[in-house]
Protein backbone atom coordinates (compact mmCIF):
# COMPACT_ATOMS: atom_id res chain seq x y z
CA UNK A 1 0.00 0.00 0.00
CA UNK A 2 1.38 3.45 -0.98
CA UNK A 3 2.47 5.74 1.82
CA UNK A 4 -0.24 8.29 2.54
CA UNK A 5 0.56 11.91 3.20
CA UNK A 6 -0.77 12.88 6.60
CA UNK A 7 -3.64 15.32 6.48
CA UNK A 8 -2.58 18.77 7.50
CA UNK A 9 -5.46 20.64 9.04
CA UNK A 10 -3.67 23.90 8.54
CA UNK A 11 -3.32 23.53 4.83
CA UNK A 12 -5.50 25.45 2.42
CA UNK A 13 -5.37 24.75 -1.30
CA UNK A 14 -3.13 27.05 -3.26
CA UNK A 15 -2.28 29.31 -0.37
CA UNK A 16 1.35 28.39 -0.17
CA UNK A 17 1.73 28.88 -3.91
CA UNK A 18 0.17 32.34 -3.78
CA UNK A 19 2.28 33.23 -0.77
CA UNK A 20 5.43 32.14 -2.57
CA UNK A 21 4.38 34.18 -5.57
CA UNK A 22 3.89 37.22 -3.37
CA UNK A 23 7.27 36.95 -1.74
CA UNK A 24 8.95 36.57 -5.10
CA UNK A 25 6.88 39.40 -6.55
CA UNK A 26 7.77 41.70 -3.67
CA UNK A 27 11.47 41.22 -4.07
CA UNK A 28 11.95 40.59 -7.76
CA UNK A 29 11.61 44.18 -8.99
CA UNK A 30 13.92 45.65 -6.39
CA UNK A 31 16.47 42.88 -6.71
CA UNK A 32 16.53 43.32 -10.46
CA UNK A 33 16.82 47.05 -10.03
CA UNK A 34 19.77 46.54 -7.73
CA UNK A 35 21.42 44.12 -10.14
CA UNK A 36 21.15 46.53 -13.03
CA UNK A 37 22.76 49.26 -11.01
CA UNK A 38 25.92 47.34 -11.63
CA UNK A 39 25.33 47.29 -15.36
CA UNK A 40 28.33 48.51 -17.33
CA UNK A 41 26.38 50.11 -20.16
CA UNK A 42 23.71 52.74 -20.49
CA UNK A 43 20.95 50.34 -21.47
CA UNK A 44 18.53 49.24 -18.82
CA UNK A 45 17.87 45.78 -20.17
CA UNK A 46 20.97 44.58 -21.90
CA UNK A 47 23.57 43.42 -19.51
CA UNK A 48 26.90 44.86 -20.50
CA UNK A 49 29.18 43.57 -17.84
CA UNK A 50 29.60 44.20 -14.18
CA UNK A 51 30.73 47.68 -13.31
CA UNK A 52 30.65 50.18 -10.52
CA UNK A 53 30.71 53.10 -12.92
CA UNK A 54 27.26 54.33 -11.99
CA UNK A 55 28.07 54.36 -8.30
CA UNK A 56 31.17 56.37 -9.05
CA UNK A 57 29.17 58.77 -11.18
CA UNK A 58 26.58 59.21 -8.48
CA UNK A 59 29.25 59.69 -5.87
CA UNK A 60 30.86 62.50 -7.81
CA UNK A 61 27.61 64.08 -8.90
CA UNK A 62 27.50 67.39 -7.06
CA UNK A 63 23.76 67.69 -7.26
CA UNK A 64 23.40 64.25 -5.71
CA UNK A 65 25.85 65.18 -3.02
CA UNK A 66 23.95 68.33 -2.15
CA UNK A 67 20.62 66.51 -2.18
CA UNK A 68 21.96 63.78 0.09
CA UNK A 69 23.34 66.25 2.59
CA UNK A 70 20.09 68.13 2.58
CA UNK A 71 18.10 64.93 3.13
CA UNK A 72 20.28 63.92 6.04
CA UNK A 73 20.20 67.32 7.70
CA UNK A 74 16.44 67.59 7.46
CA UNK A 75 15.95 64.03 8.66
CA UNK A 76 18.37 64.48 11.56
CA UNK A 77 16.81 67.69 12.84
CA UNK A 78 13.26 66.46 12.27
CA UNK A 79 14.07 63.24 14.11
CA UNK A 80 15.47 65.01 17.13
CA UNK A 81 12.56 67.45 17.31
CA UNK A 82 9.78 64.96 16.67
CA UNK A 83 11.19 62.30 19.00
CA UNK A 84 11.69 64.80 21.81
CA UNK A 85 8.20 66.16 21.37
CA UNK A 86 6.74 62.66 21.10
CA UNK A 87 8.43 61.51 24.33
CA UNK A 88 7.02 64.51 26.21
CA UNK A 89 3.60 63.81 24.76
CA UNK A 90 3.74 60.10 25.59
CA UNK A 91 4.65 60.91 29.20
CA UNK A 92 1.84 63.41 29.38
CA UNK A 93 -0.77 61.07 27.96
CA UNK A 94 -0.18 58.79 30.89
CA UNK A 95 -1.25 55.24 31.13
CA UNK A 96 -4.82 54.33 31.69
CA UNK A 97 -6.02 57.34 33.61
CA UNK A 98 -8.21 59.41 31.37
CA UNK A 99 -8.28 63.20 31.37
CA UNK A 100 -10.31 65.80 29.65
CA UNK A 101 -9.13 66.40 26.11
CA UNK A 102 -7.36 63.09 25.88
CA UNK A 103 -9.11 61.79 22.76
CA UNK A 104 -8.74 65.16 21.11
CA UNK A 105 -5.02 65.05 21.84
CA UNK A 106 -4.76 61.56 20.38
CA UNK A 107 -6.55 62.72 17.26
CA UNK A 108 -4.17 65.66 16.95
CA UNK A 109 -1.07 63.51 17.30
CA UNK A 110 -2.30 60.98 14.77
CA UNK A 111 -3.66 63.58 12.38
CA UNK A 112 -0.76 63.29 9.90
CA UNK A 113 -1.54 59.59 9.56
CA UNK A 114 -5.19 60.16 8.80
CA UNK A 115 -4.84 62.85 6.17
CA UNK A 116 -3.61 61.86 2.69
CA UNK A 117 -0.13 63.18 2.04
CA UNK A 118 -1.15 65.18 -0.99
CA UNK A 119 -3.66 67.14 1.07
CA UNK A 120 -1.07 67.94 3.73
CA UNK A 121 1.45 68.83 1.00
CA UNK A 122 -0.98 71.21 -0.65
CA UNK A 123 -1.98 72.84 2.62
CA UNK A 124 1.63 73.43 3.58
CA UNK A 125 2.41 74.81 0.14
CA UNK A 126 -0.37 77.31 0.51
CA UNK A 127 0.61 78.46 3.99
CA UNK A 128 4.33 78.58 3.40
CA UNK A 129 3.88 80.46 0.13
CA UNK A 130 2.19 83.22 2.04
CA UNK A 131 4.79 83.15 4.82
CA UNK A 132 7.63 83.25 2.30
CA UNK A 133 6.30 86.38 0.66
CA UNK A 134 5.66 87.99 4.04
CA UNK A 135 8.96 87.41 5.77
CA UNK A 136 11.18 86.56 2.84
CA UNK A 137 12.89 83.61 4.50
CA UNK A 138 13.41 80.79 2.09
CA UNK A 139 15.66 78.28 3.76
CA UNK A 140 15.34 74.72 5.02
CA UNK A 141 13.18 75.78 7.96
CA UNK A 142 9.91 75.05 6.23
CA UNK A 143 10.98 71.55 5.28
CA UNK A 144 12.25 70.90 8.77
CA UNK A 145 9.02 72.11 10.33
CA UNK A 146 6.90 70.07 7.93
CA UNK A 147 8.96 66.92 8.48
CA UNK A 148 8.94 67.36 12.24
CA UNK A 149 5.18 67.53 12.20
CA UNK A 150 4.50 64.38 10.22
CA UNK A 151 7.22 62.44 12.02
CA UNK A 152 5.61 63.00 15.41
CA UNK A 153 3.08 60.14 15.20
CA UNK A 154 5.79 57.77 13.97
CA UNK A 155 8.01 58.57 16.92
CA UNK A 156 5.05 58.57 19.30
CA UNK A 157 3.80 55.04 18.71
CA UNK A 158 6.81 52.97 19.84
CA UNK A 159 7.44 55.27 22.81
CA UNK A 160 3.86 55.01 23.98
CA UNK A 161 3.82 51.24 23.51
CA UNK A 162 6.97 50.91 25.59
CA UNK A 163 5.59 53.21 28.27
CA UNK A 164 2.38 51.26 28.57
CA UNK A 165 4.27 48.00 28.92
CA UNK A 166 6.28 49.40 31.79
CA UNK A 167 5.59 48.30 35.33
CA UNK A 168 4.06 51.28 37.10
CA UNK A 169 5.12 50.12 40.54
CA UNK A 170 8.74 50.77 39.61
CA UNK A 171 8.16 54.51 39.56
CA UNK A 172 6.19 54.28 42.78
CA UNK A 173 9.05 52.37 44.37
CA UNK A 174 11.48 55.06 43.30
CA UNK A 175 9.27 57.79 44.76
CA UNK A 176 8.91 55.73 47.91
CA UNK A 177 12.71 55.75 48.09
CA UNK A 178 12.92 59.54 48.11
CA UNK A 179 13.38 60.19 44.41
CA UNK A 180 11.84 63.48 43.28
CA UNK A 181 9.77 63.53 40.10
CA UNK A 182 12.78 64.50 37.99
CA UNK A 183 14.95 61.82 39.62
CA UNK A 184 12.29 59.20 39.01
CA UNK A 185 12.29 60.14 35.34
CA UNK A 186 16.04 60.28 34.99
CA UNK A 187 16.93 57.14 36.93
CA UNK A 188 13.98 54.81 36.33
CA UNK A 189 11.51 55.90 33.65
CA UNK A 190 13.89 57.09 30.97
CA UNK A 191 16.41 54.20 31.12
CA UNK A 192 13.57 51.75 30.81
CA UNK A 193 11.92 53.83 28.10
CA UNK A 194 15.08 54.17 26.04
CA UNK A 195 14.57 51.24 23.62
CA UNK A 196 11.19 52.68 22.71
CA UNK A 197 12.70 56.13 22.20
CA UNK A 198 15.36 54.61 19.99
CA UNK A 199 12.78 52.73 17.94
CA UNK A 200 10.71 55.89 17.58
CA UNK A 201 13.73 57.87 16.46
CA UNK A 202 14.58 55.25 13.85
CA UNK A 203 11.04 55.26 12.52
CA UNK A 204 11.01 59.05 12.37
CA UNK A 205 14.36 59.17 10.60
CA UNK A 206 13.35 56.70 7.92
CA UNK A 207 10.00 58.40 7.40
CA UNK A 208 11.63 61.77 6.93
CA UNK A 209 14.35 60.43 4.67
CA UNK A 210 11.82 58.66 2.47
CA UNK A 211 9.33 61.47 2.11
CA UNK A 212 8.57 62.55 -1.42
CA UNK A 213 5.19 64.22 -1.72
CA UNK A 214 5.30 66.77 1.07
CA UNK A 215 8.92 67.65 0.35
CA UNK A 216 8.17 68.11 -3.34
CA UNK A 217 5.46 70.66 -2.61
CA UNK A 218 7.13 72.52 0.22
CA UNK A 219 10.61 72.89 -1.19
CA UNK A 220 11.80 76.00 -2.89
CA UNK A 221 13.64 75.82 -6.20
CA UNK A 222 16.95 74.01 -5.97
CA UNK A 223 16.18 72.56 -2.55
CA UNK A 224 16.10 68.97 -3.66
CA UNK A 225 16.30 66.13 -1.26
CA UNK A 226 17.43 62.76 -2.50
CA UNK A 227 13.90 61.46 -3.17
CA UNK A 228 12.80 64.61 -4.99
CA UNK A 229 15.99 64.55 -7.04
CA UNK A 230 15.21 60.99 -8.05
CA UNK A 231 11.66 61.94 -8.86
CA UNK A 232 12.93 64.60 -11.20
CA UNK A 233 15.32 62.16 -12.84
CA UNK A 234 12.56 59.68 -13.42
CA UNK A 235 10.62 62.16 -15.43
CA UNK A 236 13.43 63.41 -17.56
CA UNK A 237 16.71 61.68 -17.60
CA UNK A 238 16.85 58.01 -16.77
CA UNK A 239 20.22 56.40 -16.40
CA UNK A 240 21.42 53.52 -14.30
CA UNK A 241 22.82 56.20 -12.07
CA UNK A 242 19.32 56.41 -10.61
CA UNK A 243 19.49 52.65 -10.10
CA UNK A 244 22.71 53.11 -8.17
CA UNK A 245 21.28 55.77 -5.86
CA UNK A 246 18.12 53.73 -5.40
CA UNK A 247 20.15 50.65 -4.50
CA UNK A 248 22.15 52.55 -1.92
CA UNK A 249 18.94 53.81 -0.32
CA UNK A 250 17.51 50.32 -0.50
CA UNK A 251 20.45 48.79 1.31
CA UNK A 252 20.25 51.52 3.91
CA UNK A 253 16.56 50.82 4.55
CA UNK A 254 17.14 47.09 4.77
CA UNK A 255 19.94 47.55 7.29
CA UNK A 256 17.82 49.92 9.35
CA UNK A 257 14.76 47.65 9.36
CA UNK A 258 16.78 44.59 10.32
CA UNK A 259 18.49 46.57 13.07
CA UNK A 260 15.12 47.78 14.31
CA UNK A 261 13.88 44.17 14.28
CA UNK A 262 16.70 43.00 16.50
CA UNK A 263 16.45 45.99 18.83
CA UNK A 264 12.76 45.33 19.42
CA UNK A 265 13.47 41.64 20.01
CA UNK A 266 15.92 42.57 22.73
CA UNK A 267 13.65 45.13 24.34
CA UNK A 268 10.98 42.46 24.60
CA UNK A 269 13.31 40.31 26.60
CA UNK A 270 14.42 43.09 28.93
CA UNK A 271 10.97 44.40 29.79
CA UNK A 272 9.90 41.09 31.27
CA UNK A 273 11.01 40.64 34.81
Amino acid sequence: MAKRKTFDTRRQAGFTAIAAFCFVMLYLPIVLMAIFSFNGGLALTRWEGFSLVWYVTAWHNEVVQAATIRSVIIAAVATVVSTLVAVLAALAMGRGKSFRGRSAMFALINQPLMVPEIVTAVSLLVVFAWVKTTIGYSGLGYLILAHSAFCIPFAFMPVRARLQGMDQTLEQAAADLYASAWQVFRRVTFPLLWPGVLAGAMLAFVTSLDDVVITEFVKSAGQDTLPTYMLGQMRRNLTPETNAIATVLLVFSVVLVVAFFFVSREKHAKAQL
Binding site: C22, L88, V115, P116
Partner: protein
Protein backbone atom coordinates in the same frame (compact mmCIF):
# COMPACT_ATOMS: atom_id res chain seq x y z
CA UNK B 1 -19.53 59.51 62.28
CA UNK B 2 -18.59 60.72 58.83
CA UNK B 3 -16.51 63.85 58.69
CA UNK B 4 -15.77 64.41 55.04
CA UNK B 5 -14.03 67.72 54.65
CA UNK B 6 -12.68 68.17 51.15
CA UNK B 7 -8.97 67.50 51.15
CA UNK B 8 -7.34 70.62 49.75
CA UNK B 9 -4.04 68.83 49.29
CA UNK B 10 -5.76 66.47 46.90
CA UNK B 11 -7.19 69.35 44.90
CA UNK B 12 -3.85 71.15 44.69
CA UNK B 13 -2.07 67.96 43.66
CA UNK B 14 -4.63 67.34 40.91
CA UNK B 15 -4.33 70.90 39.59
CA UNK B 16 -0.58 70.68 39.48
CA UNK B 17 -0.76 67.38 37.66
CA UNK B 18 -3.06 68.84 35.02
CA UNK B 19 -0.87 71.89 34.52
CA UNK B 20 2.24 69.74 34.13
CA UNK B 21 0.48 67.48 31.68
CA UNK B 22 -0.52 70.30 29.37
CA UNK B 23 2.97 71.80 29.61
CA UNK B 24 4.40 68.52 28.35
CA UNK B 25 1.86 68.44 25.54
CA UNK B 26 2.47 72.02 24.51
CA UNK B 27 5.33 71.45 22.03
CA UNK B 28 3.43 68.80 20.07
CA UNK B 29 0.31 70.96 20.06
CA UNK B 30 2.23 73.95 18.71
CA UNK B 31 4.00 72.03 15.98
CA UNK B 32 0.95 70.08 14.90
CA UNK B 33 -1.29 73.12 14.85
CA UNK B 34 1.25 75.10 12.88
CA UNK B 35 2.17 72.48 10.33
CA UNK B 36 -0.69 70.02 10.21
CA UNK B 37 -4.06 71.28 11.39
CA UNK B 38 -3.68 75.00 10.85
CA UNK B 39 -2.79 74.70 7.17
CA UNK B 40 -5.90 72.56 6.62
CA UNK B 41 -8.03 75.38 7.88
CA UNK B 42 -6.27 77.72 5.48
CA UNK B 43 -7.09 75.30 2.67
CA UNK B 44 -10.75 75.44 3.59
CA UNK B 45 -10.62 79.21 3.42
CA UNK B 46 -8.78 79.21 0.11
CA UNK B 47 -11.38 76.94 -1.44
CA UNK B 48 -13.81 79.83 -1.16
CA UNK B 49 -11.57 82.45 -2.75
CA UNK B 50 -10.88 83.49 -6.31
CA UNK B 51 -7.96 82.22 -8.33
CA UNK B 52 -5.15 84.66 -8.99
CA UNK B 53 -3.86 85.10 -12.51
CA UNK B 54 -0.39 83.77 -11.80
CA UNK B 55 -1.28 81.32 -9.13
CA UNK B 56 -2.13 82.19 -5.60
CA UNK B 57 -5.48 83.69 -4.65
CA UNK B 58 -7.32 86.93 -4.66
CA UNK B 59 -9.13 87.69 -1.42
CA UNK B 60 -12.55 87.71 -2.94
CA UNK B 61 -15.26 85.26 -2.06
CA UNK B 62 -16.26 82.88 -4.81
CA UNK B 63 -17.98 79.55 -5.29
CA UNK B 64 -15.84 78.81 -8.32
CA UNK B 65 -13.45 76.54 -6.50
CA UNK B 66 -16.17 74.19 -5.33
CA UNK B 67 -18.18 74.46 -8.49
CA UNK B 68 -15.12 73.53 -10.48
CA UNK B 69 -14.89 70.17 -8.82
CA UNK B 70 -17.82 68.74 -10.67
CA UNK B 71 -18.77 71.34 -13.25
CA UNK B 72 -17.25 73.55 -15.88
CA UNK B 73 -18.79 76.74 -17.05
CA UNK B 74 -18.97 77.64 -20.64
CA UNK B 75 -16.61 80.59 -21.13
CA UNK B 76 -19.04 82.34 -23.39
CA UNK B 77 -22.38 82.11 -21.72
CA UNK B 78 -21.44 80.82 -18.30
CA UNK B 79 -23.74 77.83 -18.33
CA UNK B 80 -22.66 75.00 -16.12
CA UNK B 81 -22.13 71.54 -17.42
CA UNK B 82 -20.64 68.43 -15.94
CA UNK B 83 -16.86 68.46 -15.88
CA UNK B 84 -16.39 65.15 -17.59
CA UNK B 85 -12.66 65.16 -17.23
CA UNK B 86 -12.89 65.61 -13.46
CA UNK B 87 -15.60 63.01 -13.14
CA UNK B 88 -13.59 60.46 -15.03
CA UNK B 89 -10.55 61.21 -12.91
CA UNK B 90 -12.55 60.80 -9.72
CA UNK B 91 -14.04 57.62 -11.05
CA UNK B 92 -10.63 56.29 -12.05
CA UNK B 93 -9.33 57.02 -8.54
CA UNK B 94 -12.17 55.17 -6.86
CA UNK B 95 -12.08 52.33 -9.35
CA UNK B 96 -8.32 51.80 -9.16
CA UNK B 97 -8.32 52.08 -5.37
CA UNK B 98 -11.05 49.52 -5.14
CA UNK B 99 -9.30 47.14 -7.54
CA UNK B 100 -6.03 47.62 -5.68
CA UNK B 101 -7.72 46.69 -2.42
CA UNK B 102 -9.31 43.65 -4.02
CA UNK B 103 -6.08 42.34 -5.52
CA UNK B 104 -4.17 43.03 -2.33
CA UNK B 105 -6.77 41.03 -0.47
CA UNK B 106 -6.61 38.11 -2.93
CA UNK B 107 -2.84 38.02 -2.74
CA UNK B 108 -2.39 39.08 0.85
CA UNK B 109 -4.84 36.74 2.52
CA UNK B 110 -3.00 33.52 1.59
CA UNK B 111 0.33 35.18 2.36
CA UNK B 112 -0.75 36.20 5.84
CA UNK B 113 -2.23 32.77 6.41
CA UNK B 114 0.97 31.14 5.26
CA UNK B 115 3.03 33.13 7.73
CA UNK B 116 0.57 32.52 10.55
CA UNK B 117 0.82 28.78 10.03
CA UNK B 118 4.60 28.67 10.21
CA UNK B 119 6.26 27.50 13.44
CA UNK B 120 6.29 30.24 16.02
CA UNK B 121 10.05 30.75 15.91
CA UNK B 122 9.96 31.29 12.15
CA UNK B 123 7.13 33.78 12.08
CA UNK B 124 9.12 36.84 13.05
CA UNK B 125 11.55 36.05 10.25
CA UNK B 126 8.79 35.82 7.66
CA UNK B 127 7.25 39.03 8.89
CA UNK B 128 10.63 40.68 8.61
CA UNK B 129 10.65 39.68 4.94
CA UNK B 130 7.30 41.41 4.49
CA UNK B 131 8.38 44.43 6.48
CA UNK B 132 11.53 45.16 4.52
CA UNK B 133 9.76 46.15 1.28
CA UNK B 134 7.26 48.08 3.37
CA UNK B 135 9.93 50.37 4.73
CA UNK B 136 11.68 50.75 1.42
CA UNK B 137 11.15 54.12 -0.14
CA UNK B 138 7.97 54.40 -2.17
CA UNK B 139 9.91 56.00 -4.96
CA UNK B 140 12.35 53.16 -5.17
CA UNK B 141 9.63 50.58 -5.37
CA UNK B 142 7.75 52.53 -8.03
CA UNK B 143 11.01 52.97 -9.91
CA UNK B 144 11.62 49.23 -9.70
CA UNK B 145 8.23 48.52 -11.24
CA UNK B 146 8.95 51.06 -13.92
CA UNK B 147 12.17 49.27 -14.68
CA UNK B 148 10.15 46.14 -15.25
CA UNK B 149 7.36 47.36 -17.47
CA UNK B 150 8.91 50.08 -19.57
CA UNK B 151 9.16 49.50 -23.28
CA UNK B 152 12.90 49.21 -22.83
CA UNK B 153 12.35 47.47 -19.56
CA UNK B 154 13.02 44.00 -18.31
CA UNK B 155 9.65 42.36 -18.95
CA UNK B 156 9.54 43.43 -22.58
CA UNK B 157 13.21 42.61 -22.96
CA UNK B 158 12.65 39.09 -21.72
CA UNK B 159 9.62 38.56 -23.94
CA UNK B 160 11.47 39.81 -27.00
CA UNK B 161 14.49 37.72 -26.23
CA UNK B 162 12.29 34.65 -25.90
CA UNK B 163 10.80 35.52 -29.26
CA UNK B 164 7.27 35.71 -27.94
CA UNK B 165 6.71 39.25 -29.17
CA UNK B 166 8.18 41.37 -31.95
CA UNK B 167 7.89 44.80 -30.49
CA UNK B 168 7.35 45.88 -26.91
CA UNK B 169 3.94 45.79 -25.28
CA UNK B 170 2.93 49.21 -24.09
CA UNK B 171 2.50 48.79 -20.36
CA UNK B 172 3.66 52.14 -19.06
CA UNK B 173 1.25 55.04 -18.87
CA UNK B 174 -1.79 52.79 -18.60
CA UNK B 175 -4.30 52.09 -15.87
CA UNK B 176 -2.74 48.65 -15.68
CA UNK B 177 0.62 50.18 -14.81
CA UNK B 178 -0.89 52.24 -12.00
CA UNK B 179 -2.80 49.25 -10.67
CA UNK B 180 0.29 47.09 -10.75
CA UNK B 181 2.31 49.74 -8.99
CA UNK B 182 -0.26 50.29 -6.28
CA UNK B 183 -0.75 46.61 -5.58
CA UNK B 184 2.99 46.17 -5.40
CA UNK B 185 3.48 49.07 -3.03
CA UNK B 186 0.49 48.52 -0.75
CA UNK B 187 0.49 44.73 -0.47
CA UNK B 188 2.48 44.72 2.81
CA UNK B 189 -0.08 47.11 4.28
CA UNK B 190 -2.72 44.45 3.72
CA UNK B 191 -0.60 41.57 5.00
CA UNK B 192 0.36 43.22 8.30
CA UNK B 193 -3.08 43.61 9.91
CA UNK B 194 -4.28 40.37 8.34
CA UNK B 195 -1.38 38.56 9.94
CA UNK B 196 -2.08 40.24 13.27
CA UNK B 197 -5.63 38.87 13.14
CA UNK B 198 -4.60 35.43 12.00
CA UNK B 199 -1.93 35.10 14.60
CA UNK B 200 -4.64 35.31 17.21
CA UNK B 201 -6.74 32.74 15.44
CA UNK B 202 -7.70 29.83 17.63
CA UNK B 203 -6.58 27.00 15.38
CA UNK B 204 -8.38 24.41 17.43
CA UNK B 205 -11.54 25.83 15.88
CA UNK B 206 -10.32 24.53 12.56
CA UNK B 207 -9.69 21.13 14.08
CA UNK B 208 -13.17 21.16 15.54
CA UNK B 209 -14.67 21.98 12.15
CA UNK B 210 -12.83 19.11 10.49
CA UNK B 211 -13.96 16.85 13.27
CA UNK B 212 -17.49 17.86 12.34
CA UNK B 213 -17.15 16.83 8.69
CA UNK B 214 -16.28 20.18 7.12
CA UNK B 215 -14.32 20.30 3.86
CA UNK B 216 -11.22 22.51 3.60
CA UNK B 217 -13.10 25.10 1.59
CA UNK B 218 -15.91 25.17 4.10
CA UNK B 219 -13.40 25.58 6.87
CA UNK B 220 -12.00 28.57 5.05
CA UNK B 221 -15.34 30.14 4.39
CA UNK B 222 -17.13 29.38 7.64
CA UNK B 223 -14.35 29.39 10.23
CA UNK B 224 -11.27 31.23 9.08
CA UNK B 225 -12.71 34.19 7.19
CA UNK B 226 -15.24 35.23 9.83
CA UNK B 227 -12.60 34.97 12.54
CA UNK B 228 -10.16 37.27 10.79
CA UNK B 229 -12.72 39.79 9.61
CA UNK B 230 -11.24 42.64 11.74
CA UNK B 231 -7.92 42.09 9.97
CA UNK B 232 -9.61 42.11 6.59
CA UNK B 233 -11.36 45.38 7.36
CA UNK B 234 -8.24 47.00 8.76
CA UNK B 235 -6.12 45.88 5.83
CA UNK B 236 -8.70 47.07 3.33
CA UNK B 237 -8.79 50.52 4.86
CA UNK B 238 -5.01 50.69 5.10
CA UNK B 239 -4.82 50.00 1.36
CA UNK B 240 -7.87 51.90 0.14
CA UNK B 241 -7.11 55.21 1.84
CA UNK B 242 -3.59 55.78 0.54
CA UNK B 243 -4.66 54.47 -2.89
CA UNK B 244 -7.29 57.16 -3.10
CA UNK B 245 -4.73 59.84 -2.42
CA UNK B 246 -1.97 58.32 -4.52
CA UNK B 247 0.22 60.82 -6.26
CA UNK B 248 3.70 59.50 -6.90
CA UNK B 249 2.64 56.18 -8.39
CA UNK B 250 0.21 57.58 -10.97
CA UNK B 251 2.63 60.38 -11.75
CA UNK B 252 5.48 58.07 -12.63
CA UNK B 253 3.60 55.08 -13.98
CA UNK B 254 0.63 56.90 -15.45
CA UNK B 255 2.54 59.75 -16.98
CA UNK B 256 0.60 62.90 -17.70
CA UNK B 257 -2.31 61.11 -19.30
CA UNK B 258 -3.69 58.78 -16.69
CA UNK B 259 -4.49 61.13 -13.87
CA UNK B 260 -5.74 60.26 -10.44
CA UNK B 261 -7.18 62.69 -7.97
CA UNK B 262 -3.78 63.44 -6.47
CA UNK B 263 -2.37 64.41 -9.85
CA UNK B 264 -5.40 66.54 -10.63
CA UNK B 265 -4.86 68.40 -7.38
CA UNK B 266 -1.21 68.97 -8.16
CA UNK B 267 -2.12 70.29 -11.56
CA UNK B 268 -4.10 73.12 -9.99
CA UNK B 269 -1.04 74.29 -8.13
CA UNK B 270 1.14 73.91 -11.14
CA UNK B 271 0.19 74.60 -14.72
CA UNK B 272 -3.51 75.12 -14.22
CA UNK B 273 -2.98 77.87 -11.64
CA UNK B 274 -6.29 77.37 -9.95
CA UNK B 275 -5.57 77.28 -6.26
CA UNK B 276 -9.18 77.47 -5.03
CA UNK B 277 -10.07 74.51 -7.22
CA UNK B 278 -7.05 72.64 -5.95
CA UNK B 279 -8.11 73.42 -2.40
CA UNK B 280 -11.65 72.23 -3.06
CA UNK B 281 -10.38 69.04 -4.69
CA UNK B 282 -8.11 68.38 -1.72
CA UNK B 283 -11.00 68.75 0.66
CA UNK B 284 -13.08 66.46 -1.53
CA UNK B 285 -10.37 63.84 -1.23
CA UNK B 286 -10.25 64.41 2.51
CA UNK B 287 -13.98 63.91 2.77
CA UNK B 288 -13.80 60.68 0.77
CA UNK B 289 -11.03 59.39 3.01
CA UNK B 290 -12.92 60.38 6.14
CA UNK B 291 -16.03 58.60 4.92
CA UNK B 292 -13.98 55.46 4.34
CA UNK B 293 -12.51 55.75 7.83
CA UNK B 294 -15.94 56.16 9.38
CA UNK B 295 -17.14 53.08 7.53
CA UNK B 296 -14.16 51.26 8.98
CA UNK B 297 -14.82 52.43 12.52
CA UNK B 298 -18.46 51.37 12.21
CA UNK B 299 -17.55 48.00 10.73
CA UNK B 300 -15.00 47.22 13.44
CA UNK B 301 -17.36 48.44 16.17
CA UNK B 302 -19.99 46.02 14.94
CA UNK B 303 -17.60 43.16 15.44
CA UNK B 304 -18.14 43.54 19.13
CA UNK B 305 -15.02 41.62 20.03
Amino acid sequence: MAVTQPNTDLVIANRRETRNRWLLLLPSIVILLAAAVGPLIVVVIYSFLTAGDYGGVVWHFSWDGWLGVFTTSDPFDGTLSLANAHISILWRSVKLSFLTTLFCLILGFPTAYFIATRPVTQRDGWMLLITIPFWTNLLIRTFAIMGLIRNEGLANGLLEWLGIIDHPIQMMFTDFAILLGMVYVYLPLMVLPLYASMERLNFSLIDAAYDLYATPFRVLRRVIVPAVKPGVVAGSILVFVPSLGAYVIPRILGGGTQLMLGNLIELQFGQARNWPLGAALSLTLLVMVTVALIVYVRASANEGD
